[in-house]
C-alpha cells in the first residue's frame, strides 16, 4: 500500500521533523526520539521497548477511535491516545 507517510501524515504543529505518536497517520511509521509523561508511564513505555530509535508503526485505531494499535520490535501493543502523545517520533 503506497501512502504518504512523510510529515504531512502528521497533523500537528510541533517542531519540524518530529511528531507526537498519536498524531501519526495509520499505516505510517517513525522512529522513537523521546518519551515524556510522568516517570511511571515513561518507565513502562521504555521497558516495553519505546527507546533507542526503535521503529514504531501505527497499525490501526480501535473502532471507537481509541486506543491505537502499534507494531514495535516485532510485536503489537496498544496505547490510549492520551499516552501515545507522550512519545515523540521522527521520520528518519
Amino acid at each position: 500500500m503506497e501512502k504518504t507517510c512523510g510529515l504531512n501524515a502528521c497533523n500537528h504543529s510541533g517542531t519540524a521533523g518530529s511528531c507526537a505518536l498519536n498524531k501519526l497517520g495509520i499505516g505510517c511509521s517513525g522512529f522513537v526520539v523521546s518519551v515524556g509523561g510522568d516517570s511511571e508511564l515513561r518507565r513502562r513505555l521504555l521497558e516495553m521497548g519505546f527507546c533507542n530509535g526503535a521503529q514504531v508503526e501505527v497499525v490501526r485505531r480501535a473502532p471507537l477511535g481509541d486506543p491505537i494499535e502499534f507494531r514495535l520490535r516485532g510485536y503489537h501493543l496498544s496505547l490510549r491516545d492520551e499516552q501515545a502523545r507522550h512519545v515523540t517520533i521522527s521520520q528518519s
Binding site: 513502562r44 527507546c51 533507542n52 508503526e57 490501526r60 480501535a62 516485532g74 496505547l79 492520551e82 499516552q83
Partner: protein, 727 residues
Amino acid sequence: MSSCCKIESEFKSDDGRLTIALAGNPNSGKTTIFNALTGLRQKVANYPGVTVEKKTGRCRLPNGAIASVIDLPGTYSLISRSPDEQVAMEVLRGLRVDTPAPDAVVVVVDASNLQRNLYLVSQLIEMGKPLVVALNMMDVAQRRGLNISAQRLQKQLGVAVIPVVGHKRQGIEQLKAALMKPQVAPLPDWPLPAEMREEVTVVGGALAILSEEKSLDQDKAIAERLLIGDRARDLQEISTREPVASLLGHANRRLSAAGIDPMQADIEAHYRWIDVVAAGSLVPACERLGSAGAVLDYETPKGATLTDRVDGVLVHKFWGLLIFAFIMGTLFVTIFWLAQPIMNGMQNGILWIGHWLTHALPEGPLKSLLNDGVIGGVGTVISFVPQIALLFMFLAILEDTGYLARAAFLMDKLLARVGLHGKSFIPLLSSFACAIPGIMATRTIENRRDRLATILIAPFMSCSARLPVYALLIGAFFASFGALAQAGIMLACYALGILAAVTTAWVFKRSLLKGGATTFILELPSYKLPQISQVARQVWINAGKFVTKAGTTILAFSIVLWALAYYPRLPRDRADQADANVVAAAQSEHSFAGRLGHWMEPGLRPLGFDWKMGVGLIGAFAARETFISTMGITYAVGDPGESGTQSLQSAMRGDHYASGKPVWTPLVAVSLLVWFVLALQCMSTIAITRRETGGWRWPIFMVVYMNVLAYAGSLVVYQAGLLFLHA
C-alpha cells in the same frame, strides 16, 4: 551444556529440595511450560495480603531430586509497581517470608518476540541467580522468517538456552536436565553513558566496602538499581547507609546536571545490549542483518502474518464490532440461560439427597438445620458452579486465543470514560447473569485500582436472581398497565443498575481509588489455538477454588440465616393448628427474623416497607430470589416455588394495615424495585468479594455503600412519589 560462565553452582539445598521460580513475560507460554514441568501436581493459593495467585508444583529432575516450582505472575519487568510485578520481584529476590528464596530461575522467552522478552532476561541476569532460559515458540518465529539459534543465544547469554514447545512437551526433559546444573550468567557490560558508568563504579565501590562476601558484579548491579531509584525492600536499608546515601545524592545531582535520567539511560542501555544479542542470535544465512550489523530486522515483515489478517476482520470497524457482539451474546446467553437448568437440576439434586439422608431423622431442629441450613447452603454453593465453570471456560478460551486482549481493545474507549479499563467489560457483562463469576472474572484486570473499581460496581448489574423478584412485583402491581409498561419498568430496573454502576465507578476513580490516569498498555498477542487441556484445567481450578474458599463462607452465612428464621420456636399450643401454612406464617413472625422485621419497621416505613418486607429482605440475603419464598411463608400461602406466584401476588394485593390502608401500592412496589436494583443483599457476593480482595475491608465497604445508596434511592422515590400523588 556450555560452561562459559564464571560461577557454577552445584545444586544442593539443605533438605535436598530445590526451589525453582518460573518467570516470563505475559503471553510467553509460561503456563504451558509450568504444566509440562509439574504435571497435575499443582497447588493454587494466594499470596497473603495481595490478590495475586500463587501457583506451585513439583517436578522430578533426571537425577531423582525433587524440585518445587513456583509459577510467578507474568511480568514485563521487575522494577514495576503493580502487585503482580511486585510479587514476582519479591519472590525472586527472596524477600517474601511466605515463599522460600528460589535456588534457580527458569525464564520463558517467546522467540517470536525476542527483544522485549530479553528485557526481563537482562534484569534476571542482574539479579545474579542461576538461570536457565526456556526458548518457546520457535515455530512461530520461524514462520515469521526469524531463524533464531538457541546455541547462539546461549553463547551470548552465558547460560543454558533450551528450545521448548510447551504444548507438545518438546524440550521439557532437556530443561529438567539443565536445571540440575544451572549457571549464573556473567553480568554484561551494559552500554551505559560514560557519566553513569562512573557513578556505578563509585557507588559500587562503596557497596563493596560495606559488604565483603558479595561478588563485584553483584555490587555493580545493586549500584545500578540504586541509581535508577529502585527502592525494593532489600535495598531500603543499604540506600540510607553512609557513605552510600550521600554518594547517591551526589551522583544524582551530577547526572541531572549532565542531562541524564538514570532510569531512562539504564533501560536504553539494556535495550542496546538486547539489540546486539538478538541480532547475534539469528542464523545469518537466513536473515539479512542491518548495514550496521547490529539491528535485528523486525521492521519489514515478509507480508502480513496470520494474526494481521485475522485482526483485519476481528477488530474491523464494522465486522469487528459485529463479531464482538456475537461472541459476547453467546457468552451471556450461555451463562444466563444455558447454566440455569443445570444449576436448578444440581440444586434440586442436592436437596433431594438431603431429604433422603435426613429421612430417618425425627422432625426437629437437627433435621431442619441439616435440610434448610447445611444442605440448603451446600445447594447454594453448588448452584454457582455451572455458571463459574462455563464463564471460566469462555475466559480461558478467549485468553488462550488472544481474543481477550482484542475485546479490551474494542471496548476500552467506552469504559475509559468512567475511569475503567477495557478488560472490565467481560466481568461486568457476566455480572448480569451473576456477580459471583463476574467478580471472579476481574482477575484478568492487572491494575489493582481498576480491578477493585470493577468489583465494587459489578453487583449493580441486575443479576438473574433479581429477575424473579422483578417479575413478581411488576406482575402483581403493574399488570393492569399493559405489557409495554411492564417491559418498560423491567428495562428501567436494568438501566438504573447500569447508571448507578457508571456513576459510582466515576466517583470511586476520582476519590477512593485515585492514583493518576490508568496506564493502559495492552499487548495484543498473536492468535493461537486454545488447548483443551489448559481450558479444562482453568475451569477445574477456578470452580474448585470457589467451592473450597468462598463456599465455606456462604455455608456459614446460610446456617446463621437458618437459625434466624428457625428460632425461637412457637409455643406448643400455637403450633398445633391444622393449617400448616398458618403455622409457618406464625413461626416466621415469632422467629428472630420476624422480630428483626418488626424492629426494622420504623426504619423501613419511610421507604414504604412494612415488617413483612423486612423479613423478606433478610431472607433475600441468602439469595435474592429467596425473597419470594420468604414472602410466601409470611403471607401463609406456602412456598410459591411449588404453587406459583399467583396466590402470593393476590395475598400481597389484599394486605392492609390496621388503619385500612393497603400495604402494597404500585409506589411501594417501585420503591422495593429500586431497593432490589441497588442493594447488596447477597451473602455469596460478599463471600466472593472477601476472597478476591483478600480481606473483609472491601466487602464491608461494599455492603455499606450499596445499601446506603439503596436506602437513599428508595427513600427519595417513595417520598417524592407520595408528594406527587398527593399534590
